[in-house]
């Protein structure tokens, strides 16, 4: 009999009911909740007279529509109502809430890991597609809709059809200046925005083993942009070292006992995946998207492609529609596209390491007078740590705005919106039409490229910044 993948192992440990020809009833170990997708689920419970089955396996925070200049001045009354509704629901149903006053508040996919709520082997759900982030720890984590959210609240379980498995082996090591963000953008640019549909992706290989937890989270975060149900990475010493001592992680002997079990959450050498992809990261250059989905990207040294060169009619149509929206001409050098906004933040790239990378580029430079640049730390904890390290001084001195934690300009539900027709170099995960504001044009990049773009007003590699300033 063939061995098991780590996915098979986690899945099997969580099956509550398995009947022939039906989805499995899967137990959920951690349910993360935020203000936007939960109100209708709590209302459903209330109407049916149901309770939350395991409030102690549920954790809530506020992130999506929180203002990041002053979180306590919610000027939008409907957004304010959502925030109040979550507060009220958590009180009524006995759920722990990191509210705006809490030192634990932040983007749900940033605080889960940093609080040690996210642990290897757990099944984790949240009413948000970027729940895939938590797979970086070897947890089976996926986004759900509001109906399923209500189902988990009431039963702590979910009916799930077992997805197929896909192994993505990242071979080689990226050259300096190429980040995990460039790796995942490069992968999706090559294989498309739906190559993962119906699959759980396990990321493996030399490049993954060498990555920090922050980098692994960036990779797994964007596995949903490849259409995958979830991303997974085998837990290892890097994972255990990150988790040790986190507030909600097991302590002392409990922790050691867990580590012993977590070490078993690896794919057996003779396990068989439904599909395998090998992707060499050593030749990769920093990536910039030119279109309206995350797969429409190329190298920072590349050009905007000609839609006529795409192989299928559907891709040609998509590229034409994208270029019309983005206001770009085929053949334009990526490095010639002028930028008016820079956003460093989001559940993809707002962790301490991301801010360190960006600050390293920014140090000693000034934001271009043509650019408005903001840094939005992923959580209160990230913000505190960045301030202890003096990163905020570097950003503020250079002309960045230093904000409070939240989802912010990634989806522009709060007041952080890009005006129509203007361009934003963004470390977020989606460049969909209207994502950062109606008519706003998003270019997805790494924190390094975003930082350099803020200074140059266009896409350049950090090494070129000095030369540019000498010319000027």
């Amino acid at each position: 009999m063939a061995g098991k993948t780590m996915f098979d192992k986690i899945w099997e440990q969580h099956v509550v009911v398995a009947e022939e020809g039906k989805p499995h009833l899967l137990y959920i170990d951690l349910h993360l909740v935020h203000e936007v997708t939960s109100p209708q689920a709590f209302e459903g419970l209330r109407m049916a007279g149901r309770k939350v089955r395991r409030p102690e396996l549920t954790f809530a925070t506020m992130d999506h529509n929180v203002p990041t200049d002053n979180p306590f001045t919610v000027t939008d009354p409907i957004a304010g109502k959502q925030i109040e509704t979550l507060q009220m629901n958590c009180e009524a149903f006995g759920i722990s809430l990191a509210d705006l006053h809490s030192e634990e508040q932040g983007i749900v996919h940033v605080i889960g890991p940093e609080l040690g709520l996210t642990l290897p082997g757990k099944t984790i759900v949240c009413g948000d597609s970027h729940t895939s982030t938590h797979g970086a720890f070897g947890a089976l984590a996926f986004g759900i809709g509001t109906s399923e959210l209500e189902h988990v609240l009431a039963t702590q379980c979910l009916w799930q059809t077992k997805p197929r498995t896909l192994l993505v082996e990242l071979t080689g090591r990226p050259r300096p200046g190429v980040t995990a963000k460039d790796v995942i953008l490069g992968l999706i640019a090559q294989y498309g925005v739906d190559f993962g549909t119906g699959h759980v992706i396990q990321f493996a290989g030399e490049a993954v083993r060498a990555m920090s937890m922050e980098e692994r989270m960036t990779i797994c975060n964007m596995s949903i942009e490849a259409g995958a149900r979830a991303g997974l990475i085998e837990p290892d010493e890097t994972t255990f070292a990150y988790l040790k001592g986190r507030p909600y992680a097991p302590k002392g002997e409990d922790f050691d006992a867990c580590v012993k079990l977590w070490r078993e959450l690896v794919t057996d050498p003779d396990a068989v995946f439904d599909r395998v992809i090998q992707f060499d990261v050593s030749a990769l250059e920093p990536q910039v998207t030119w279109g309206t989905h995350p797969g429409m990207g190329t190298s920072i040294n590349g050009i905007v492609p000609d839609p006529d060169t795409f192989p299928t009619e559907m891709e040609r149509l998509a590229a034409r529609q994208a270029l019309a929206y983005m206001g770009l001409e085929p053949g334009t050098k990526i490095s010639d596209i002028p930028i008016q906004h820079v956003f460093i933040g989001s559940c993809t790239n707002s962790r301490i390491e991301d801010l360190r990378l960006a600050a390293q580029v920014v140090r000693g430079h000034k934001v271009s007078p043509k650019v408005r640049a903001i840094v939005v730390p992923g959580s209160k904890q990230v913000k505190r740590q960045a301030e202890q390290e003096g990163l905020h001084e570097i950003f503020i001195t250079a002309g960045f705005e230093w904000r409070e934690p939240g989802c912010s300009m990634c989806l522009a539900m709060n007041p952080d919106v890009v005006p129509a027709g203007e361009r934003c170099a963004s470390t977020s995960n989606r460049n969909f039409e209207g994502r950062q504001g109606r008519g706003a044009r998003t270019h997805l990049v790494s924190p390094v490229t975003a930082a350099a773009a803020a200074i140059a007003g266009r896409f350049v590699e950090p090494g070129q910044l000095q030369k540019l300033e000498e010319v000027n």
């Binding site: 936007v36 209708q40 722990s96 986004g143 809709g145 509001t146």
Partner: protein
């Protein structure tokens, strides 16, 4: 949940691949705390000009597609955000069926929870339907029991749907109610030693 057995309606073709849920329902409309009333915001940025007037070039604003209840779409429909507001908006607008060569997983799943049927047909069949629907007033009949789509000329297309989900749509079953019938087994699972480390999984009791 509403029962879905058979449906007949006019087809509206949306000729774009990778339509994401941000396009289906832009985020500024996610702030409501109710499930209803999202239809007016469906495809907002495409449906309305910046001045708030309907954009006459958008398919749903064309008189020949008035009252359409079957949406014809291209591949990877519903990608992106998990927001169930997307199927809520489509259903509230009046769509009962969506036909496409492929759907994104979370959206596909969310449709079934709202009495709406997503049908996957091969690309060449979808292409044919686009040709037909392009003329307007093209009607299809969808029979979930027989798993068949039929047009007025008698052309038929068979489709596959997960038997479990089909059953739930046909009977309009409430998922939570059905799951609670297994409450004993959930309790047994919770008490079993299947995962010795589960006891330490708590969201309360942080030491900070």
């Amino acid at each position: 949940m509403e029962v879905f057995v058979r449906h007949q309606g006019i087809v509206a073709p949306l000729d774009r691949p990778n339509v994401d849920t941000d396009a289906i329902i832009p985020k500024q409309f996610l702030k409501r705390v109710e499930r209803s009333g999202f239809g007016q915001f469906l495809f907002y940025d495409w449906r309305y000009l910046p001045n708030g007037e309907p954009d006459p070039s958008f398919v749903l604003n064309q008189p020949r597609y008035a009252g359409a209840s079957i949406l014809l779409a291209r591949n990877n429909f519903g990608c992106g955000s998990s927001r169930e507001h997307a199927p809520w908006a489509l259903a509230d607008y009046g769509f009962k069926v969506i036909i496409a060569p492929s759907f994104a997983d979370i959206f596909h799943n969310n449709c079934f929870k709202n009495g709406m049927l997503p049908i996957v047909l091969p690309e060449k069949d979808v292409e044919h339907l686009f040709q037909q629907a392009g003329r307007g007033q093209y009607r299809l009949e969808v029979d979930l029991e027989a798993q068949v789509v039929r047009d007025d000329e008698g052309t038929t297309w068979r489709f596959q749907v997960d038997p479990y989900r089909r059953e739930r749509l046909l009977k309009g079953l409430d998922d939570i109610g059905a799951t609670l019938l297994h409450a004993d087994r959930i309790t047994v699972y919770e008490q079993s030693a299947k995962k010795p480390y589960q006891d330490v999984y708590r969201t309360t009791g942080s030491v900070t």
